[in-house]
């Protein structure tokens, strides 16, 4: 199993690592049982993600996909963010080892969970957004 240079760069120098006190939405997915927990914070103003940050417990791929996902959502509208798939995150990282593909799924879900939290708090419905999974589904 080998990681791409992109993955190693985002793992050793992760972008956007911090708790966000004034986040518009926070999403936490995964659990210690599966070995990965991702928490994504989004700052949303006028339907645009103006800032994103994360905290992740997990393997190199989990950290790298969280880092990349937060980079990708910044400056995008909510509608655009909903459409960012795990495959897009993986592509941006020049691929992931097969056994690590689930990490990119988790990153997508963490972003969606943060959007869901934002929608819940503001009584909004976001088209194409499903409620986050619960429990041990990962």
């Amino acid at each position: 199993m080998e990681y791409s240079e992109q993955v190693m760069d985002h793992f050793m120098n992760p972008r956007n690592v911090r708790e966000m006190e004034d986040a518009s939405g926070v999403g936490t997915v995964g659990n210690v049982k599966c070995g990965d927990i991702m928490r994504v914070y989004l700052k949303i103003q006028n339907d645009v993600v103006t800032d994103a940050s994360f905290k992740t417990f997990g393997c190199g791929a989990a950290v790298a996909t969280s880092s990349m996902a937060t980079e990708m959502v910044k400056g995008k509208t909510i509608a655009e963010v909903v459409k960012i798939t795990n495959a897009a995150v993986m592509d941006a990282l020049d691929g992931l080892p097969k056994v690590k593909a689930h990490c990119s799924v988790l990153a997508e879900e963490a972003v969606h969970a943060a959007l869901w939290d934002y929608a819940q708090k503001n009584g909004l419905t976001i088209e194409g957004l499903k409620p986050p999974k619960e429990g041990d589904e990962h």
């Binding site: 050793m12 049982k33 599966c34 070995g35 056994v99 690590k100």
Partner: protein, 388 residues
Amino acid sequence: MLYFDSAATTPMRPQVLDAMLPYLRENFYNPSAVYTPSRKIRAAIDDSRLVIANALNAKTEEIFFTSGGTESDNWAIKGMLERGRHVITTQTEHHGILYVCKNLEKKGFDITYLPVDGEGFVRTEDLEAAVREDTALVTIMFANNEVGTIQPIKKFTEITARKKIPFHTDAVQAVGHVPIDVEELGVQMLSLSAHKFGGPKGVGALYVKKGTPLFSIFQGGAQERNRRAGTENVAGIVGIATALQLATDELPMQFARVTAMRDKLIHEIISTIPHTVLNGAKGGNRLPGNVNISFRFIEGESLLLHLDMQGCCASTGSACSSGALEPSHVLMAMGVGHELANGAIRFSLGPENSDDDIADLMKILKPAVEQLRALSPLYDDFLKKEIS
């Protein structure tokens, strides 16, 4: 390069390579041939067998050369199945045993996987209770590869001897590192592997006590007294014997030296890095080179990657690193929770390590742990709980 993975494999000793080379060059003859040059090859195999036998306090006719620990383990189990439909093993075996047993289950055999306590020890009463009329074999590892726990084998064989059940032990992690006397242990079979004690990869041996009804699993030529067919790996056999001789000669000195380094490393980590837990045996019944530590709030693979980026090799049986998405079966059987199991790292030391290595490792380890904790939502949650 800082190497802390001796339990995975060891560098080959230069003397071992020197001893092997003639058998890869001019001494190429088939040891089974009748002409004069091949007799020298046959003699080299006989001499090697004597070295292994002496090191284990066995007889020469009780040593069978194999391709390594996995083959020895497979043979010990599969060669015993005509005795019964039940095999007793433990939940913390190496996969060389565990997956053979899982496979046998699919074929209709009954397997008992004995549990272990929090330090990885099998309880004698559990073994006593598991033994049945149709038990073909009990196989319990001598020392665990992940956490280093050394089982009280002699106590187990007292039980199996009473019930006349053959006992096998996978001693791959122990041979060459701790004193082993097969007579004193009372085992009928014992597996060993050369590359764990400074020998070459691809060669091992199985000790089979005289009178043990072990069937062959390789049929073919009459090598190894008709029990393991196949032209001998002569250079490998010379290599395993040379390595075991060296390891045995140095054992008292290295045992003390490596044990002291182990205890120093454990102490350094536990006392200077907060939220760390030692996994495995707390007392002396631990392999001299084994250090297994859980770093709370971080995941093992991410720590290994950090160490690797700074030229340090260690390992983990945890979730992501092995490619398998399950945490270590050993730690889970010991009742270590998921979070701690996922954050476990094994540093295994050998004669090649020094106190300087430990000092160098600590310089890398502390900042790596701090950096990863700064990333961890679990650490955030923990700090918030501390404050409130």
